[in-house]
């Protein structure tokens, strides 16, 4: 039963890839939901869970490109493991510290994906996709943390409007 939430996260990733990815893209900035989900799991769950969820998320996002499936699985798995150890060794109580971890993690993932897919115009894509994509994903993570930590609540929203 403990596996069900993670399967739902994987469905969420698949839904994002198919439906919401295009809708939420701002110019060249794409929300990297797989990396964000792996980093959030690593931030709140155990090490083993982070490793396996990273692997599963990598397999799911590479379903359309079977040749690169292993690389995607490996990258996200190692990303989850690394994020978990960063969380263990550093103090991530602060919201900004968590955001820095997300920004760094997504940036690293975007760069590694560019390297693995052997994209042409690497330097251009580095800032037009990897960097701005990382910033946009961090904004989504910021919203997530604000809701999770109770800074944004339904009552507060109702009071505002």
């Amino acid at each position: 039963m403990r596996i069900i939430p993670f399967i739902l996260y994987l469905f969420l990733i698949a839904m994002h890839e198919v439906i919401s990815s295009d809708l939420t893209t701002v110019y060249t900035a794409v929300i990297n939901l797989p990396a964000l989900a792996v980093l959030l799991v690593a931030t709140y769950k155990s090490e083993v869970v982070s490793i396996w969820f990273g692997f599963a998320a990598g397999v799911v996002i590479a379903a359309g490109m079977p040749d690169l499936m292993g690389w995607h699985a490996l990258i996200l798995s190692v990303l989850g493991l690394t994020a978990f150890h960063v969380r263990e060794r550093l103090n991530l109580d602060s919201l900004y510290a968590k955001l820095l971890l997300i920004l760094g993690g997504v940036l690293v993932h975007n760069v590694l994906v560019l390297i693995v897919t052997r994209s042409d115009e690497f330097l251009y894509l580095l800032w037009s996709r990897a960097l701005v994509g990382g910033i946009l994903t961090s904004l989504v993570a910021w919203l997530f943390f604000l809701i999770k930590e109770g800074h944004i609540t339904y009552a507060k929203m109702k009071a505002l409007f």
């Binding site: 698949a14 198919v18 692997f55 397999v59 079977p66 499936m69 292993g70 490996l74 798995s77």
Partner: protein, 260 residues
Amino acid sequence: MSNLSYKSIRNAHFAVVLVLAVVLIIGQPAVNGLVSQVILDGFYYPFFHIKKLLTEVKTVSAENDQLRSWVAKSSVELSFLEEAARENIRLRSILGFEQQPGYRLLPATVVSVTGGRMPISATINRGLADSVKVQQPVINQVGLVGRIQEVMPGYAKVQLLTDPLNRVAARVASGREMGIVRYLVSEGMVLDNFPNQGIVRPGDTILSSGLGRVYPPGLKVGTVREIFRPENKPYSEIRLEPAVNFHSLEELFVLMPETQ
């Protein structure tokens, strides 16, 4: 001891993940393809269906808006045409001309088409049961398609204009000079027997003339693409662009006489 055990478990899990990833990296394309297919079937296809539905809803909505404006425009044009038709009947009766028969449209769906690179006949889902008869004209929303060649109880065969044996008496919409439209495999649709001194320009519309009494007058057949006027011959060679795309026939209408 507990810490050591935890690290061993962690290392074991990571080793398994590493092995699986390496298997996928260096593995056979068939293995990766199978995994990919399972993931696509399990995780992606429900969302592909939802996306397809959303796209269709969006398309249908836009198409509906377009059709509404088309219907509004057409109803205005129809009221003008009905008035013109009434005037035409009145003037014809004053002059003692024979009245033109009216037609109603019988919708039909194309079941199959036959022919080589260019289809020459189509089978529709209307037949004797719908009072379809041989020689009745068949049109679609853009122009003349052909005529009924053979009728069976539930089906009918349509001889398309692309059949080299099918000919249509036609005239230029603006100049009123007449000729015969036919389809040549080597040249495509042509307007034959058109006098060299006749007035016709590229882009002119060619309509059925009503002569021959198979096709009623005024049905769009095509537009003039190229004109050759050989000096030593009495007739021009006129090539046409068919009004109908014979490669994408779907919904057709059989023109049924009003009395039927």
